[in-house]
């Protein structure tokens, strides 16, 4: 046990050190000024600090407050002859843990120090246990993170924040556990031609999770190959998918899935026992039973592309309401008709329901014409050009100005870091950008603000090779990357990237 003692009397310090030596405490450091003690504490963490109440420069209570700012772990003992209750109350508030009277007898002093030794030993043991527990938790978290990364690596949800022409596509995926039965995927075949799907293997645990991931990986790979050969056919893809799924299902297992294709202003769908497709006109119910080992054929339907639709797994509608008034379904069927973006449903769900199962949602909507009210074109070459643009915006009279500036701070920095300096990793990001050197020429950026009550649309276009939109689906699992995107997602109703990743549409709700 390391003990530090501070007193302005060198004779007393010498005496108390001898006393401590007699009762077996040899690791004792003596200080006669607060400055010397504070300097020592910057690099050392003694177990116990004994402080005289009366000191030169500042009193013991003020010194304790300063010590707590730099070291909150040491046990602080006040050395005092005072019996003033107010002083002792003040000392406790400042962070002292106990008092020692200056005229304490040797047996009492010995008993107090032995008790402190037991306390310090106990604290050390608890710290060791906590360290072990922390390591175990870190290992478990690491394994979970690897599992999620692996999941994301196998299953691509490329259109999780996507726009092209008038199409806006977004998704929300929240597994209940690591071993989840839901998978969600989306892929662009070519311009205005997309495949979307949610797969839900019935049952729990590893078997359901393996079925779901495997089946989706097969579908993903089939579509990828079809794109390579420029020969994607919805009917043939579904047929192959069913045959593969049957080959991996156990006797009593079933797999539910909704698979859609958007092409030439039409929506092709095959729904195997999943909730309906919710559109502005009607709900298109499942046109197939869930896939089982004995499934032989299937149906698919083609409808005109709705203005919007939601596809979901059963997790959201079967989760229970917090007030125990039934499932969330009752709220969902009211809300989806007026929800402009997924966020509205997710926020409502978080407020009113408890998640009982994996939740997957894909939302499609046709973007509408908004009225332009502001436009700014600039050339970003360094931080000064960004500062100038931000100050220009700060002087404009814009609705939701604060949010717009906050969002643009993040977007400009992204353009500077990725588009001009090409900073990639965590180490580089922790350098300040002035320490890096530009690898690209200045970048032209255009910001357009449009409105249509109650929304404001920010269109941000940069002339760069674009942001890698494939990593967008991974930002929730990476501690250091994508924080800016997370901030924008949180401040806005929705954020959408074009296929190249160099144009964004961000929607804000005008709170007025």
């Amino acid at each position: 046990m390391e003990i530090c003692i501070i007193d302005d009397s060198k004779a007393f310090l010498k005496y108390i050190k001898q006393l401590l030596g007699k009762i077996g405490f040899e690791n004792v450091k003596l200080f006669s000024t607060p400055g010397n003690l504070l300097k020592y504490l910057k690099n050392h963490k003694p177990d116990v600090i004994i402080i005289d109440y009366i000191l030169p420069e500042i009193n013991g209570i003020d010194l304790a407050k300063k010590i707590k700012e730099i070291n909150s772990d040491s046990i602080l003992i006040m050395l005092t002859s005072s019996k003033d209750i107010n002083v002792k109350n003040e000392a406790l508030k400042a962070g002292f843990d106990d008092f020692i009277n200056k005229d304490i007898s040797l047996p009492e002093f010995s008993a107090k120090m032995n008790m402190l030794q037991k306390l310090v030993d106990y604290i050390h043991k608890e710290k060791e246990k906590n360290e072990e527990l922390k390591k175990e938790i870190e290992y478990k978290n690491y394994q979970e993170q690897i599992a999620i990364i692996k999941h994301k690596k196998i299953i691509k949800n490329e259109l999780s924040m996507f726009f092209e022409n008038e199409h806006l596509i977004e998704s929300y995926y929240k597994p209940k556990d690591i071993l989840n039965g839901d998978t969600i995927f989306s892929k662009r075949i070519k311009e205005n031609f997309y495949v979307l799907g949610i797969i839900d293997a019935m049952g729990k645990g590893l078997s359901a999770s393996l079925t779901s991931i495997n089946a989706t990986a097969f579908l993903e790979h089939s579509i990828k190959k079809a794109i390579e050969y420029k020969d994607f056919q919805f009917e043939r893809t579904i047929k192959d998918f069913i045959n593969y799924t049957k080959s991996i299902l156990l006797e009593n297992e079933i797999l539910c899935a909704t698979i859609l294709c958007i092409k030439e202003n039409k929506l092709y769908y095959a729904n195997f026992g999943m909730p309906p497709i919710y559109t502005e006109k009607e709900r298109y119910k499942a046109n197939n039973l869930p896939i089982r080992k004995r499934t032989n054929d299937f149906k698919f339907n083609i409808i005109p592309l709705p203005d919007y639709f939601f596809i979901i797994s059963d997790g959201i509608i079967e989760s229970h309401l917090k007030n125990m008034q039934g499932p969330y379904y009752t709220r969902f069927i009211q809300l989806y008709k007026k929800a402009e973006f997924i966020k509205e449903i997710v926020n409502d769900f978080k407020k009113h329901a408890t998640q009982d199962d994996d939740i997957s949602i894909i939302h499609y909507k046709k973007d509408e014409e908004f009225e332009k009210f502001f436009e700014l074109e600039l050339e970003i070459k360094d931080k000064d050009s960004i500062n100038e643009a931000l100050l220009t915006l700060a002087n404009e009279n814009l609705p939701q100005k604060h949010k717009i500036i906050y969002i643009l701070q993040e977007l400009f920095m992204n353009t500077l870091e990725h588009g001009i300096y090409e900073l990639k990793n965590k180490k580089e990001k922790f350098q300040k950008v002035e320490d890096a050197s530009p690898k690209q020429k200045p970048v032209k950026v255009k910001i357009t603000l449009q409105k249509k009550e109650p929304f404001i649309k920010i269109i941000y276009e940069e002339h760069t090779k674009g942001f890698d939109i494939n990593i967008l689906d991974e930002i929730n699992i990476n501690k250091y990357h994508g924080r800016g995107i997370k901030i924008i997602k949180n401040l806005s109703e929705g954020i959408f990237f074009n296929p190249k990743g160099n144009k964004l549409k961000i929607f804000l709700k005008d709170e007025k």
Binding site: N71, L391, E410, K429, K432, R483, N490
Partner: protein, 94 residues
Amino acid sequence: MKYKVKGNVLEITEPIITINDADEIITVLEKLGSEYDNITVQVKNSFSFPSSIIAELEKLKDEGKTIKIVVSDDIIYELFKELNLDKIFHVVKG
């Protein structure tokens, strides 16, 4: 932007608008991190709190510092909770 530093407390009293503002705050945090184990950031009158500052605070946390953030703006307070920053730092509304 305006800010004050008193001991281990950084008080941001006017909005962080430019990238230079954010860099200035990062420099102050680096200095506080070299002097104190406990750092308090009071965000009194700013509507933004850029990700570069959050990254610096995370770095200090990883180095073993205890970070307390006192936020007055409702949007930033909710944002911190939504980003799970209240699990990394001690975030309070004030």
